[in-house]
């Protein structure tokens, strides 16, 4: 049965709405695949062991750590990175709020912050600040001190809720 093991694996998936086919080394994680093979540098590689959250992407509708998923496991998956999320406009308000609130400085953490915050905002309602903090607890930011990020997410939640009831 050993012949069933491969050191290069054929995968077919969609990335940001486009069909992609590739042959990937068994050890390649999603972030290296996206950045080095597809040239999508939106998701960042930080710690590569699940601690910092800079690599957060969306796979099959859920936020996941790109560094803790192998590209080989993405066969058939629907993957969204910051490039696609930006183009589609789904987080335009969140991105504007980050700029308005100064919720980014160097920007290293920002793609992961946006991908994680998007998840929470999609649950609807207006999460309190403690809930926002808890949800973003797996995303490190070494610049902003977090307060402005929480402000931005809270502002967007309120604005979206206002629109729905209006």
């Amino acid at each position: 049965m050993t012949e069933a093991f491969r050191d290069r694996i054929d995968i077919a998936l969609t990335v940001n709405g486009e069909a992609v086919e590739a042959r990937v080394p068994a050890s390649r994680h999603m972030i290296d695949f996206l950045r080095l093979d597809l040239g999508l540098t939106g998701a960042h590689s930080g710690c590569e062991h699940g601690v910092c959250g800079a690599c957060t992407i969306h796979v099959d509708g859920q936020a996941v750590r790109g560094c803790l998923m192998l590209a080989a496991q993405a066969d058939g998956a629907e993957v969204w990175t910051l490039e696609g999320l930006t183009e589609s406009g789904v987080i335009r308000d969140l991105q504007d709020a980050f700029v308005a609130r100064n919720a980014l400085q160097c920007g290293y953490c920002t793609p992961g912050m946006l991908a994680s915050a998007m998840d929470l905002l999609e649950q609807g309602g207006i999460p309190d600040r403690a809930t926002i903090r808890e949800h973003l607890s797996g995303n490190y930011c070494r610049c902003t001190g977090y307060e402005a990020i929480i402000d931005a997410v809270e502002g967007v939640a309120k604005a979206r809720a206002g629109k729905e009831t209006a």
Partner: protein, 277 residues
């Protein structure tokens, strides 16, 4: 650093996975949620693994009630456990535990079977299954085996699982109507592994207490349980502090962990009895 796997294969069912493991010359390694294994591979703590990806085996996923027991498939994810209504009703200890494990994005992929097989001494689920008196079901080339949680956890990252064997499910007794479950832990930041933690289950028949992150494996605190049944909370705290075997590291000293375990027990009992600590 970059991972160095020996190879990858996606298993279509349990038998296929077992065949792949058997053909891997001792280098076979089950890949479930990958939330511990891929991190270890990226740090080259694990190299040359022949990865057997079981994550798509549908039979290994989901929660059911069967023969008066709660059955949780090995591939059930932390995020699913956090929100599953059957688990909230029959084993609320696991619902509480899931909220403490890592962060949302990690809970979206990590599995309960992976957490038990990995057997991190600081992990929540192993201690929960121990406190609940659960059974761990495994399947290997020689068939299936049921291992009581008490016999499953052997040492740091070491379990009764043999090479080439897959953890398929856990089963738990259904909580009685009056049963109380409480998980209490202290961590430096939300989502971090606990510095010390406790699982307390109060049944008509008596108390069950397990402790995690205070020894090489989760511990069923038998002496403390006996004191709790006798209504002696102060005695239980002393017994617990004597039973556990914490080590010091960069996070906390052994003495501080021992102290914390006692404080957590005092508080947990105050919550359960409704009397101030």
């Amino acid at each position: 650093m970059k991972a160095m796997a020996g190879g990858y294969a996606r298993a279509t069912d349990v038998q296929h996975a077992l065949d792949l493991l058997a053909g891997a010359d001792g280098m076979g390694r089950v890949l479930a949620g990958g939330q511990s294994l891929i991190a270890a591979m990226n740090m080259r703590l694990s190299t040359g693994d022949m990865l057997v990806d079981i994550s798509r085996i549908a039979d290994l996923r989901g929660v059911t009630v069967e023969e008066n027991r709660l059955r949780i498939g090995a591939l059930t994810r932390h995020a699913e456990i956090e929100t599953d209504p059957l688990i909230a009703e029959h084993a609320p200890l696991l619902t509480q535990a899931a909220g403490h494990i890592a962060h949302a994005a990690i809970r979206n992929r990590g599995t309960i079977g992976g957490a038990l097989a990995h057997a991190d001494p600081a992990a929540e689920f192993p201690a929960c299954v121990l406190a609940l008196g659960g059974m761990i079901h495994v399947q290997g080339p020689d068939g299936t085996r049921d291992i009581p949680a008490e016999d499953f956890f052997v040492d740091v990252f070491e379990t009764a699982l043999e090479d080439g064997v897959i953890l398929t499910a856990i089963t738990l007794p259904l909580a009685e109507a009056s049963e109380k479950h409480l998980l209490r832990e202290t961590a430096r930041r939300s989502g971090d592994y606990a510095l010390a933690g406790l699982c307390l289950v109060k049944r008509a028949a008596g108390h069950r207490l397990s402790a995690f992150s205070v020894g090489p494996r989760p511990l069923l605190a038998l002496a403390a349980m006996e004191r709790l049944d006798a209504g002696d909370i102060v005695g239980a705290v002393s017994a617990l502090r004597a039973e556990i075997d914490p080590t010091g590291d960069t996070q906390a000293s052994a003495a501080y962990r021992r102290h914390l375990a006692g404080v957590l027990l005092t508080r947990a009992m105050a919550e359960i009895t409704g009397e101030p600590a």
